[in-house]
Symmetry: C2
Subunit: 344 residues, 2 copies
DNA sequence: GTTAGCACTCTATTTATTGGAGTGCTAACA
DNA sequence: TGTTAGCACTCCAATAAATAGAGTGCTAAC
């Protein structure tokens, strides 16, 4: 086990390296932080820490940089929970209120805030609620041969599309048709409304083929929309601010990975189970980001996973800040979603 | 005026430079393209072209690169209209069909296609139709004290939101209320539905304050949505593929500009009047992109501007390809929008 | 156990050297 | 008069050599 002084020195080295991105030398530590010991002593300690696997030397005459093991130790044992400044909180609040029209906007804002606050790439995965229950459909007349088909689910979501109706069809007839279809499907989860079910319905209900086809399409689209997990990325530009990515090639390769929505989704889903997950360097099994670290937080509502957010950046990452920000966002989102739920 | 040989040489230099990004020397031209004249002759011609302002030398012993004036001449007089390969067209079609749920998806796809095909940043500005006319509102019951408020406009757009209703309010009462509000507002353009008008309405119609407030919010939100011009960016990542942007600082500064939605919007609006507009280097008055060129196409439907798309890149840009792609997209969009219009 | 001192190492930066691509000029040629 | 070969000249880019500096590791003294 490391003694207190070693821990302290290790912590200082890690934090100095995190903020400067330069290998840290014994003199730097002695000068910047008053430990009451000389560079030579620090040197001895550093030498020990290197043997123990916590530090690495890029070359003999450079300072030392933390190893993956050091970061692991740091996030597990050294880091102390911080709190956001009032200024940061105000900033976050203003960003959230800036644009909030739909659920999607909230996720998008989260990604944006996360990346701005941490200067790293952020990813947000929104799990859609596949359990929404079909309520009823309704036709809103538009003109002589068009109407709007509205599909209402019990969570208050409405999807609509314009459908062509037979010329001269009367509102009462449409209402009757809507009523019949509604009765057939009411109470079913959108996800269980399968093609089979719809075809069976077809036999049974549909007086009018054109109308029915439009209806089919709309409901399929809606259940697909509901089942979809969507990914929101933020701050891919921030990459350029990190010295690790001063090389354009590295930026390109990482952006190439992030561009593949499927990959990002898999990446996020993989770490979804635990509340807060930090993977450092090669701890992450996805190729291409093994020289990066990732901090991921998953949030739930009534035990169900609502979404997950993550920050991806160089292993030299401000873990403390990232965690603090995520924690705050987590609470913020919780409040928002619970409000939303109460409302419906 | 330039004689044919000078024109030919200038064209070859421009096209060679566009594809290689390297200064072009007399020998290169002589070797690559069989003009039947020696490098020395080409050298003389190049010397003339430099005096005339068409070519520049980065330094004495480098080849020459085209000046802004040369590009201008190139796009005005030298460029010959090309056509897309079948492969490209198939690619475009597949990208468009890949994801097409809403109007926004079409614009987003356009931006994506434009950037992929041209390897440059693309911008698409979607003008919203502020002239949508209010048709009616309708309440769809949800549960004992919530309903969905639907606002229908005559272009077939529906906006909806969940509103709280007084406990025990009966559907007939709600229908009555909806009917009265609808009659008041019917036929008005969304943009002319001002706060004043709504307040006046308030006095007159509203029996129920809570309900009415929700309704107000929804309609305001909808007219705002309709009035909004939205910007879609594509291929900011492609920047990194251009040798001009091998320097991270340059990338950052350009991305910084593109990040400001307002700036991009102004930029696009400024060039909206003409059908096809090409600005080369400093011809563009917006600071920060004066070392770039921009090709912009504005498309209209029934004389009204529907949107505008642009490609932004280094002055060394494949103008021919860009124009060809835009032309194709233009036609493609036209067909799509006209279909859409017919439908409604 | 701590520390000053010093030799040693290795890199990053600066400076010198060289090779090559390209021009411009001149003189000869058709 | 236009074209071209030849050659000196220029300037950059790439390579090589020299230098400065930061940092370590070791030793011996405290």
């Amino acid at each position: 086990m490391l003694n207190d002084r070693k821990k302290k020195i290790l912590q200082l080295i890690i934090e100095d390296y995190i903020s400067t991105a330069e290998p840290v030398g014994s003199r730097t530590i002695a000068r910047k932080y008053d430990l009451g010991i000389s560079p030579a002593t620090i040197r001895n300690e550093m030498s020990d820490l290197e043997l123990l696997g916590y530090l690495e030397q890029p070359h003999t005459s450079a300072g030392r940089i933390p190893s993956a093991q050091a970061y692991r130790f740091y996030v597990d044992s050294l880091i102390e929970p911080g709190s956001l400044t009032d200024h940061d909180m105000a900033l976050i609040n203003s960003w959230y209120t800036e644009r909030r029209r739909s659920i999607d906007d909230i996720f998008q804002s989260t990604a944006k805030i996360l990346s701005r606050m941490t200067q790293n790439v952020s990813m947000v995965l929104a799990n859609k609620d596949a359990a929404a229950v079909f309520r009823y459909i309704k036709f809103l007349p538009l003109d002589s041969n068009h109407a709007i088909l509205c599909i209402v689910t019990d969570d208050g979501n409405v999807d609509n599309c314009v459908v062509e109706i037979p010329l001269g069809m009367r509102p009462e007839e449409m209402d009757y048709l809507a009523g019949r279809i509604s009765r057939e499907l009411e109470g079913k989860e959108l996800s269980e409304i399968s093609d089979d079910l719809l075809s069976a319905l077809h036999m049974d209900v549909a007086e009018d083929k054109v109308l029915f086809t439009s209806f089919l399409q709309a409901i399929k689209r809606m259940s697909r929309k509901q089942n979809e997990q969507r990914v929101f990325l933020g701050g891919t530009k921030q990459l350029l601010n990190q010295p690790e990515f001063r090389d354009v090639e590295r930026v390109k390769s990482l952006l190439g990975i992030l561009e593949e929505e499927k990959v990002v989704r898999d990446l996020l889903v993989a770490g979804e189970d635990s509340g807060l997950k930090i993977t450092i360097g090669t701890e992450n099994k996805f190729t291409g980001i093994q020289d990066c670290s990732m901090v991921q937080a998953t949030y739930r509502l009534n035990g169900k996973i609502v979404g997950t957010m993550a920050v991806l950046g160089p292993t030299r990452m401000e873990y403390g800040k990232v965690i603090t920000v995520m924690d705050y966002l987590h609470k913020y989102l919780k409040t928002m979603f619970e409000q939303d739920q109460d409302k419906e």
